[in-house]
């Protein structure tokens, strides 16, 4: 187990290095204009640009800049840990700008993930035990439909129906529970959660269906039946447990994709999380802000993947010895 963990951690560090390097290249090598010009503003004199260039450390060679960036990321800069530099647009520390927004994104992502797991697994199990029934066909159709739906459009349609026409859900915006009460907060989160969850629930329903069907054919399930165990108990204790491994694997792989979904849902529902901020920063060419969120998102995805891998080894002991 320890060897497995060490190897995984080693890969995490390597991957993170590569990702930060790619991100760095995108922002400091690709653009045709120097970041200093962006920082100094439209009507900057060449002297001002030169000063800014010096202050941002842009007069160093690219690889020195990269190492400095890594150093700040790991050890922190004058604004504290992790050092993410400062925004070109409002000239304040990116770290302080990020702090409040992380919560919104995490709330959205976690809520949606729980919802899609619940929906996907339930629908998958039902269509497996009622194989080839009307329910099964409906569930498969549902799966492909929501897999195909553009998430930003789905969000709009849900808003139009449930907020504008029926008036049963609240409109857009994020309302922190501490300030506006739990109910208002929930009311505003339900549609974003469902939008994001529906997008992925289809995949999980199909996946669970396949896994349950495979497991039901196993000898130990027949043994359990022969012992006289009830169907419910067999399903929960014997079948679903075996299906956890593929579901978990898929969950780990989907975390990177979840970032995309979150960005778009935040924009549609006007939630002031990291995703919405990235899109705003992109339109105002605020490079350090986008860089910071990209690195943080990559890090979050990899740490979550690591956790999934550890869980994986825990659920399925064979993994540890591979």
């Amino acid at each position: 187990m320890l060897v497995y963990l060490t190897r995984r951690l080693f890969w995490l560090v390597i991957t993170l290095l590569v990702i930060t390097a790619i991100t760095f290249v995108i922002y400091f090598v690709l653009p045709p204009v120097s970041p200093a010009v962006l920082f100094a503003g439209k009507e900057a004199t060449p002297q001002l640009v030169a000063t800014v260039q010096h202050e941002l450390g842009l007069d160093h060679p690219v690889w020195v800049q990269y190492l400095l960036f890594l150093k700040h990321l790991v050890l922190g800069d004058q604004f504290g840990w992790p050092g993410l530099g400062f925004s070109y647009v409002n000239h304040s520390s990116v770290r302080s700008l990020l702090a409040g927004r992380v919560v919104v994104t995490v709330v959205l992502a976690v809520g949606a993930a729980l919802l899609w797991l619940a929906m996907g697994i339930t629908i998958g199990v039902i269509s497996a035990i009622r194989q080839r029934s009307v329910w099964d066909r409906l569930a498969l159709g549902f799966a492909i439909f929501f897999i195909s739906a553009p998430v930003f459009w789905l969000g709009l349609v849900l808003l139009w129906v449930f907020w504008y026409k029926l008036g049963v859900a609240a409109g857009t915006g994020y309302f922190p529970p501490g300030q506006y009460g739990l109910l208002t907060w929930l009311d505003h989160m339900i549609l974003p959660w469902f939008t994001l969850a529906l997008l992925y629930a289809g995949w999980y329903a199909r996946m669970t269906r396949g896994a349950v069907l495979d497991t039901l054919r196993q000898d130990y399930v027949r043994t359990a039946r022969a012992k006289g165990l009830g169907e419910a108990r067999i399903l929960l204790r014997h079948v679903l447990r075996a299906c956890l491994t593929p579901i978990l694997t898929m969950f780990g792989m989907d975390l990177a994709a979840l970032v995309s979904g979150t960005v778009i849902v935040e924009v549609v529902f006007n939630l002031n999380g990291l995703g919405q901020w990235v899109v705003q920063s992109v339109t105002s060419d605020d490079i350090p802000s986008v860089l910071a969120v990209t690195v943080l998102a990559a890090l979050a995805v990899m740490v979550a993947n690591l956790i999934v891998d550890i869980l994986y080894a825990y659920v399925d002991p064979r993994v540890r010895y591979e």
Partner: protein
């Protein structure tokens, strides 16, 4: 003597069974899959609309970016709904949504087909090389693909797209220009690893087979074995996977354009049209601006997914 004669038509001999090739079997299985066939018909129709977009514009008499400000409601300047002259209504600037949707479909298909083709070419080459040669090359290529799969794709796509669009000369001293080409390149960049992973896995199995050894024994070069012997066995799976990558690329292009970092403003895109409907909650009033581009987008991706699914069942794969 008469018994075998009457038996014959009921039980065809081995020769009659063997005449059906694998390809024929796949086509047969796919043909009997009704949802997949319906999806194929829808795709053909929508593709025809996309190809004929300029023709539609001429027939209707409205250009995709032509403004009809006198069609906006006179008091508030709001868009007006579907009418005989404007089948899908007009948008906030007074453009014909019907013509724009046809052009948008064209953008979706061009971008997704091109990017899927590039991703497949790269993915197949990388996958074949990694699986066939193995060793350090395999480690390098597979790990590289793994890293790509772990990237928060949309953030990188947004970043590259916006950085290369700061000025008109683009990136890397003008080699990467803002526009449709950039979107295609970004989509291809982030989808090749999926194909590479699939091809590598299959190549690992196939290279152990006798026909590969036989080809090598006859003195065939490595590239010849890879592309001439192994690749033909993978064609069906690669095509199926490509069919499933196309809809996801259509959605990705639409999402980028929705966020304002996709194709240029002057190119009609379904994603951008939905963004127009979102701005200022316009969709609550002008439902047609939300409905038509969205339904078209859904219809085309849904059809590709259904077809891809059917094709996957037909070749008997589960990946």
């Amino acid at each position: 003597m008469t018994v075998p004669a009457t038996m014959e038509p009921v039980l065809p001999g081995p020769a009659a069974i063997a005449t059906r090739t694998q390809r024929q079997q796949i086509v047969r299985a796919l043909r009997s899959d009704r949802p997949a066939m319906a999806a194929l018909v829808v795709i053909v129709i929508l593709a025809a609309v996309a190809v004929c977009a300029p023709l539609i514009a001429i027939l209707v008499g409205h250009g995709p970016n032509q403004l009809f400000p006198n069609q906006l409601s006179p008091d508030l300047g709001l868009p007006t709904g579907p009418s005989r002259q404007f089948l899908f209504g007009i948008d906030q600037e007074g453009r014909d949504l019907f013509v724009r949707c046809a052009y948008g479909l064209r953008t979706s298909l061009v971008v997704s087909l091109l990017s899927a083709a590039i991703a497949t070419a790269v993915g197949v080459t990388v996958g074949l090389a990694a699986g066939y040669f193995g060793g350090w090359l395999d480690t390098l290529l597979s790990r590289g693909a793994d890293i790509f799969l772990a990237l928060p794709v949309i953030l990188f796509a947004i970043s590259i797209s916006s950085v290369c669009s700061i000025t008109a000369q683009g990136c890397l001293a003008g080699t990467v220009q803002p526009g449709i080409g950039l979107v295609v390149a970004i989509l291809a960049l982030f989808t090749w690893p999926y194909i590479a992973r699939l091809v590598r896995g299959q190549t690992l199995v196939l290279r152990q087979q006798e026909f590969v050894n036989a080809a090598r024994g006859f003195g065939a070069a490595h590239w010849r074995v890879m592309f001439g012997e192994i690749l033909p066995n993978l064609t069906a799976q690669v095509i199926v996977y490509m069919t499933l990558i196309i809809p996801s690329n259509i959605l990705f292009e639409a999402a980028l354009s929705y966020l304002g970092v996709g194709v240029p403003q002057t190119t009609p895109s379904l994603g951008q049209m939905i963004a127009d409907a979102t701005a200022g909650s316009l969709f609550t009033y002008a439902w047609w601006m939300m409905l038509f581009p969205g339904v078209l987008l859904l219809l085309i991706t849904f059809s590709f997914n259904l077809l891809g699914d059917g094709a996957r069942d037909a070749i008997g794969g589960d990946g």
